[in-house]
Amino acid sequence: MTPEQKNVLIDHLDETLRGKATASLEEIIGNDPEAEKEWNYLRLAVGAVKEAGLYQEVSAARTAWKAELGIAANAATTNAAASTAATHTIPQHTTTTAKVRTLSRYGLRAAAIILIITASAAIYKYLSVSSGSLYDRYYSGYNLSTTRGAGDSDPVMEAYNAKDWTAVRQLAATAKTRTNQTDFLAGMACLEQKQYDEAISHFEQIIAVNTHAGSDLYQDEAEYYLAISWLAHRNVNEAMPILEKIRADQHHKFHEKVEKMSFFDLRLAQYKENK
């Protein structure tokens, strides 16, 4: 086909032809294989352009959303400092004109104070936050007697309640049957003894067993303490998705605990770790 003929096909595709011209082109496309082929290529090309346009639009929304997330995280820090500074600096009783002047003067001072506070806080935060410090902040032991099976005579449980971590690990390792409970208690004992690799493997074992068996025994506990173990292991990248999953799941036993965590600090630690 000549370029001119192709252009007529394009006009037909754009619906800029009228009456007889459209009808005759329909006929040509129906009877001429070459014209039909060209027609299909043109439709495909237009489809590709529309697809690229949509992708570009979604991509812009994605960028905007990421920017909003960043702004929201920064605003949360700045607002706290701003509200404290404003309470102390803005006078209560002035005339309207004076108020404007005073406000702008105090506003500048407040802005300077906020800037200094924010900068200092940011520097302090950046230096002090790490996966290790987050572990120290968020780790708390698991109290077996108040949550599960109090009064059982299982030796692993007895050793756990007695905080004899070495005995817990030995008994769990030599137990005839390995259960999620023994794995969990062994994992906790490892955490207490700062054997993080081993703790991680115990908690992962529980999750794997539950996945295969379709059960959920100690699932929530294993997920939470697995995340905590990754923090202790100085690997926030592994901990984050688990913590986010728990935060998104309102029925998770550790949901409230995770919701109280500072995700800003966690992300900061993650940023430092990935640098």
Binding site: I10, Y41, R43, A45, A48, V49, L54, A61, A64, T211
Partner: protein
């Protein structure tokens, strides 16, 4: 402060179908659904970048489905988006051959009542190849085709955006650019063959 529009599922489908305010609809989808879906991807071994890429693919696929009138309100938008994202990520994992434990775990955790979205994601790779061809066109051709076919602008409106002398020059340039793109597609017979069935 920027006003944020909210939609019910039905309103969202309508906004996408008639395309009057697609941009706001897409922004709403991100604000409403991106975090939950992305955290799922990260939980199954994806990086933040992976999660963002997969969710973006899911949104594009979802809009495509809605525009073609194939979205049925049997499942809600959140579930549908999550299913597309999960399947995309599963395919990605397969592709990366990182399978092993996480894949098995992923498969076992898939709810029975999850909508079947396989037909909607089969062509993602081919669509990506097509997008790449459009990218390969060069700035001026890409812009003119996007303004005309995606933004639905007239030749006169395009004149306000691009430095051409008159409408006829724009029209001629558009002919040339579209033919250039069909040429690129013809040079990729695999894309052409696979896509004939998809874009109807």
């Amino acid at each position: 402060m920027k006003a944020e529009v909210t939609y019910t599922d039905a309103e969202l489908i309508e906004a996408i179908s008639d395309g009057t305010d697609l941009n706001r609809a897409i922004q709403f989808i991100y604000r409403q659904h991106a975090e939950a879906t992305s955290s799922f991807i990260r939980h199954y071994g994806g990086s933040e970048q992976d999660a963002d890429d997969i969710f973006q693919d899911a949104v594009v696929a979802f809009i495509d489905v809605v525009k073609k009138g194939k979205f049925r309100m049997e499942s809600n938008v959140r579930t549908f988006l999550a299913s597309i994202a999960k399947n995309c990520w599963f395919n990605e994992l397969k592709k990366r051959e990182r399978a092993g434990h996480r894949n098995k775990q992923f498969e076992m955790n898939r709810p029975q009542d999850e909508p079947d979205v396989a037909e909607h994601i089969n062509d993602l790779e081919q669509k990506k190849q097509l997008r790449d061809l459009v990218e390969g066109l060069g700035e001026s051709c890409r812009k003119i085709l996007l303004l005309f076919y995606y933004e639905n602008m007239t030749m006169r409106e395009i004149l306000y955006h691009l430095p051409y002398e008159n409408e006829q020059v724009v029209r001629n340039k558009k002919y040339k650019c579209l033919q250039q793109l069909t040429g690129l597609i013809k040079d990729n017979p695999a894309v052409a063959r696979q896509m004939q069935e998809i874009i109807k």
